[in-house]
Amino acid sequence: MLNHERVSGSAADDLAEARLIHRVCERFEAAWRTGGEVRPRAEDHLAEVQGPPSPKLVEELLALEIELRREGGERPVAFEYLQRFPERPEMIAGLFDDASPTAGDPDETVAWPSFQSQSTVIDSAPRLALGPDGAPAPARPAPAPGRLFGKYELISEIARGGMGVVYRARDTVLNRVVAIKMILSGTMATADERGRFQREAQLVANLDHPNVVPIHEVGEQDGLPYFTMRLIEGGSLADRLHAYHDDPRAAGRLVAILARAIQFANEKGFIHCDLKPSNILMDRDGSPRITDFGLARHASESSGMTVSGAILGTPSYMAPEQASGQRREISPATDVYGLGAIFYELLTGRPPFHLPTKMETVLQALYGEPIPPRELRPDLPRELESICLKCLEKSPKDRYPSAAALADDLTRYLQGDAVGSTGLFQKLRRWTRREPEVVSRLAGLGLVSALTEVNYRILSPSPDARAHASIQMILALWAALTLLFPVLHRRASRSDRVRGLWSAADMLCLTLSIWVLEAMDSPLLIGYPLMIAASGLWFREGIVWLTTAMAIVGYLALYYHEAIVWIGRRPVFIKPSSLSYANIYVACLFLTGFVVVELIRRIKMLSRYYEVRQHVRSK
């Protein structure tokens, strides 16, 4: 706005900003009016701006887009914009709330529905204009703080999650401050689902336990299902993880308390299914309270998403039976896993599985083992590590049978009694799962070595001691490298370079053994494509290509060696069979690499698809 008493420096900045806004918006409007079917998106135009776009620019551009859409007869809703620009809820509230003459006719700005009480006729009138009669409830946006929502006066937003928004609100009837969670209607499309949510929430409201956040009321206002809970002021455990970092016993005590509360709920038939630090709220006096009971499960069921619905929430804390979408497998042991995941993070400061992409995290949750806490923090008591890992067992039957059993074991430890420890076999099994690359290689090498030994001692008609010794040495070297690389790999924080080097070393060892055995014409050549396929398990296209290149180089080296030997031999005209079809073999190696890379690409694409989808849903 015009204010000529402003200091001149900021006025110049203002002008520069206004020019930029003008430029971007003019371009957007021009694109809109000339684009025909291809409609410009505000996001794209913002992306063309250098540096982060200023709030004013975003606001202006969105206001323009909204006006242009209304001009075209559309009724854009705030909910959509909240999804597109989740980081600017206030601005979007303002845009749809704006009664200023430049933002459109005041009577048109009803997309952000009025959240006054339903009892007044005037208030409900504009809402009727929102959706066509009989149609499923339109995607309703969350009301902005400062509004009245039924009898609740919304004070401020506390949190925003995949399902809804939590506000601090005042109950104007009982005059107390509560937390109110609204379920955004995108999550529950039909009245039937909303009814189920209500019934479920009512059941949860009966859960009366000092460590469970009590639910006061369940209801529906303006088509938005909501429930109110006691307001817990101390924030969530996720903000307090550091407090437990140096005190594993306190972590143990906390998990024991949580386990007892979970046991109580489990006995009543509730399974939480989404236990994680951010769902543990901390009272002012530091006592933990579990929130979102059973609702996570409900939300993912009712959203009609079977596979990706199971991946709703963060996979870092998800039990394998949940990550794989086997709903029938979900049992109290699922919550034991969740408790274990919380415990793990309390002990080590990181969740059990945390990889760059959700796909990798889910794969890890399904097939991998968490790094034992004591490897991350050697000073942790061995007993706590074994309790924690027992909770995180892949198979529910290997975990504690109930949360109570976990609580008992923890209490025993805290009282200084012996804890049911893990056997050697279990440790070995965990290790094999944690380091599948190492284990599979060592097992393979051991097998080959043993077979070589058998061939040498029993089967071979004319044993060649030197060749035997060198092949066994190569196998030993290979095994040594196999043990060395995981260490490097971990040191280099799992860098791709180490993975590439590892592949190269494998290839070298394979080539060496074929060379020593003079086995160019033997089935041992299958080793090359096998390695290429195996390198695909890293899910890195670059590594596959590198391995393919190394395989081709290795094979060609063998080939030329053989060719030189052949040329030096008499008579020259009898070509050894090992030298036939080399071009075909090389081409096949290349094709193998190509196929593996293509598979990786497709898997990544799928993974991105689900991640984007979930991203959108969680906004």
Binding site: H4, D14, L15, A18, H22, E29, L64, T102
Partner: protein
């Protein structure tokens, strides 16, 4: 604005309290009407030597429309800081003041920064009094043309002239076939450019 006590125009356009505003509005209207009529005459004379007739006519049309509007009692409100007419007069008044200062400094041997007390009544000659001086009206006309030139964009110029002709944002949006938001945005930019250019480049 330190210069506000220097003349009736700037006084009127400054921060008046609500009560003063009501009293000042009729004075302002009378003054303003005369000023615009004078400036229009000046603008006409300027345009006789101008090159492109259409464009100059378009610029003049704002003054013509204003005079028609004034006949029906339509004046910019004193408290409407966003009005372009008001802005035009403010910018011109500031410029007149700066010029007066500079001339005075030159007379006294240059370089010396004028203090508040130092100010000669020259500024007041130009601005004060119940009637606008022809010199000030001429400056308004010149300033108007300069400000339109500063806008280096035909779309912006069209919006500025239409606005000064007295059209509402909605009407302008309809005329130009663009969004209302766009008209508002262009007006905002126009004001910012004028305020920036009106002060940064004293001639």
């Amino acid at each position: 604005m330190a210069d506000e006590d220097q003349g009736s125009v700037t006084l009127w356009l400054g921060d008046l309290k609500v009560g003063d505003l009501a009293a000042a509005q009729p004075l302002w209207e009378r003054y303003f009407e005369k000023l615009v009529v004078l400036a229009r005459g000046k603008l006409r004379r300027l345009n006789k030597t101008g090159a492109e007739e259409d464009e100059e006519d378009a610029a003049l049309s704002a003054f013509n429309s204003f005079c028609e509007g004034a006949a029906r009692g339509k004046f910019p409100k004193l408290d409407d800081r966003e009005d372009l007419w008001r802005l035009l007069v403010v910018i011109t008044a500031r410029k007149a003041m700066a010029q007066a200062d500079r001339q005075r400094r030159l007379k006294r041997g240059g370089g010396k920064v004028a203090s508040e007390v130092d100010r000669s009544p020259l500024g007041l000659d130009v601005l004060a009094g119940p009637d606008p001086s022809p010199e000030f009206a001429a400056m308004v006309a010149e300033e108007y043309q300069r400000l339109l030139d500063v806008l280096d964009d035909d779309d912006l110029r069209k919006v500025a002239v239409s606005r000064m002709e007295g059209y509402t944002s909605d009407e302008i949006a309809e005329q130009l076939g663009c969004a209302r938001r766009t008209v508002a945005r262009r007006l905002d930019l126009i004001r910012k450019i004028w305020l920036d250019g009106g002060e940064a480049k004293p001639c």
